[in-house]
Point group: C2
């Protein structure tokens, strides 16, 4: 156990708190930028620190295990030193990525045989191996290795899958018992609330440091996720951080903060930036649209990020349309700044007991 | 006339001076990073300013004319405001790019009809039009529109081409006579020193603000360029800045500074960075080589750039091999920092009358 969570304020079910790790104190609710291959794509660490002030980022075990290889990172004394990032890091277990490549993996009770999407080489991940790798990476928070239940599946299939995930979570807990690394369990159970409740009960018994809600963003209707999170909000342990994996849009975050979620990660702001979709306080902007061609205004007049303070829509559109690398860098900075500001506003509004008011105001500009 | 050149020191033929423009004072010898499409590829302006302290960058008229279009930039009150860069800018005339696309252009005495490499649309550039566009861009230094003589050509062809370029330079001078924008003439004449001398004499009569040496980097042997620059060093006007276009390697720069050249530009440090070839004070490094896989040392232990102060070769190799955008950004920063430091050392060594000593020391690590 190497983190502690302090719950500080509540406004309805929405919570403000802080997670203390040996590298950094993280204010929650928090959005964690995704740094898949030990880089938040296109963004210098320098900007992640200032002005984004990211206290924690996510890195992907699957990608780093395959490239550069966990031995390389271990030789550099772990991921923090390897990537020159001395703030907190959460690693996923690699499970999601392994299960995403359906045609190149084979699952047994022991673990998963799979082939690298890079070179076709054969590999094996088990609960123990996944935790071992995350320990070698040296992340502040490691995730249990679980089976990602596809959507849609029958209740019977979802139950079998969840139960295997819980057996695997148990093995992960045993593997990591003596390590100074926080481990989060992951609630599975497909889209069935009874299964998710059973999953949560089993995880609570394992006494892991945090509870994640997994298995979403697999193609299910948005409302189905909201309903399931809502059904869990009363039974999630109060004293542990709650992490909704792979979510989401600004509205997803607001809706799920309202139901008591503390942590989020998603490729949306970074991937959208590279595709030219920008978040602003007045709604989304597609920078490639011809309407911006000669627009000397900033992307978002309400935004204080370095991109909005310096560059015009006209110039940003030119960079994007020209396929210039700088486009990805600047637009990523803007989108992550928007998310940072959003999380700050969320925390302030919870503190001041006006979260719903803030959320309703925000929804005038965002319907998804 | 909107610039002035002050020659301050000499060491042999090597010169130290400064160019005053309305935007910035430029210490010479200077290397100008290339910002083809109004961006030095992959590099945020913020880093061009600090730590690179670039006082002047080059932008390409041809590229900007086609995209976003000169009207777009003119609506933003010129290139400085469009790209949010308030230091000096030099624009080329577009000639080099137009002539590079042999299959899609047609030359007459009046100018050049050509097709866009982007969409095949038809365009026409003449000396007058090229200067008009550069005026609309609002660069601090504009270049005359000239014919880029191919290599190899006969003396007769080179002479005809040079003479046309000089007639065009004359037209450029007339077109820009009343404008508050510096214009540099370009010496042509292929690889024939008598023609280059004639070209220079004609340009001197035109009383433009600077003299560029053009028509190199077209496939000629390196020594041929050195010989031609060497033959001109005694007859170039002392009081005007001398700009060797499109050159070059660190050694090219040292050799040509030795012969009295003041200004350089080249895509080499930026393009090389994107291709993983790095300049260090102990020679070139190919970052993709397996030898760097677990190397925790900086790229260059003698370099003070933010990349060398923070990141290991191991991490930089990982980013490069993974095709991560951040690789281009960090490696470009390093290579341009190397060039900046090189130019700083060159200026100091001229000031301290030990230029040749510096050059000879440098050549222990670089043979090209």
């Amino acid at each position: 156990m190497s983190i502690s969570f302090i719950l500080e304020h509540k406004d309805g079910n929405a919570r403000c708190g802080r997670i203390e790790t040996s590298h950094e104190t993280i204010l929650t609710p928090v959005f964690m930028p995704v740094g898949t291959a030990a880089t938040v794509k296109s963004l210098p660490h320098e900007w992640l620190e200032d002005p984004l002030d990211a206290k924690i980022i996510l890195a992907n075990t699957y990608h780093l295990y395959l490239r550069p290889g966990v031995e390389v990172i271990e030789e550099q004394e772990g991921l923090h030193r390897f990537m020159a990032w001395d703030r907190a890091i959460l690693t996923d277990s690699g499970g999601y990525q392994v299960f995403s490549h359906r045609e190149i993996r084979h699952i047994t009770e022991d673990g998963v045989n799979f082939r690298s999407h890079l070179d076709g080489s054969r590999h094996f991940l088990s609960p123990e191996r996944a935790m071992q790798i995350q320990w070698q990476l040296g992340s502040d928070i490691a995730m249990v290795f679980d089976e990602c239940t596809p959507f849609p599946v029958s209740h019977c299939e979802a139950k079998q899958s969840m139960e295997r995930s819980m057996r695997w979570a148990e093995r992960c807990g045993k593997e990591t018992a003596d390590r100074d690394q926080a481990v989060f369990g992951i609630v599975q159970g497909g889209m069935f609330s009874d299964l998710r409740e059973q999953s949560l009960e089993m995880l609570i018994d394992m006494q892991l440091e945090g509870i994640a809600l997994g298995g979403f963003s697999v193609g299910e209707p948005r409302q189905m996720m909201y309903d399931l999170v809502n059904e869990m909000k009363g039974i999630l342990p109060v004293e542990k951080p709650r992490y909704l994996m792979g979510v989401g849009t600004p509205l997803d975050i607001l809706n799920c903060v309202e139901m008591g979620v503390d942590m989020f990660d998603c490729v949306l702001p970074t991937r959208n930036a590279r595709n030219g979709t920008l978040f602003t306080w007045e709604g989304k902007v597609q920078i490639k649209n011809a309407i911006h061609k000669s627009d000397s205004r900033p992307l978002d007049s309400k935004c204080g990020c370095p991109v909005c303070r310096r560059y015009s829509r006209s110039y940003l559109r030119h960079l994007f349309v020209s396929g210039e690398i700088l486009s990805a860098t600047l637009l990523t900075l803007h989108n992550l700044y928007f998310y940072k500001e959003l999380m700050g506003e969320i925390r302030r509004s919870i503190l001041e007991k006006r979260f719903l008011e803030f959320k309703n105001g925000f929804m005038e500009h965002y319907s998804s």
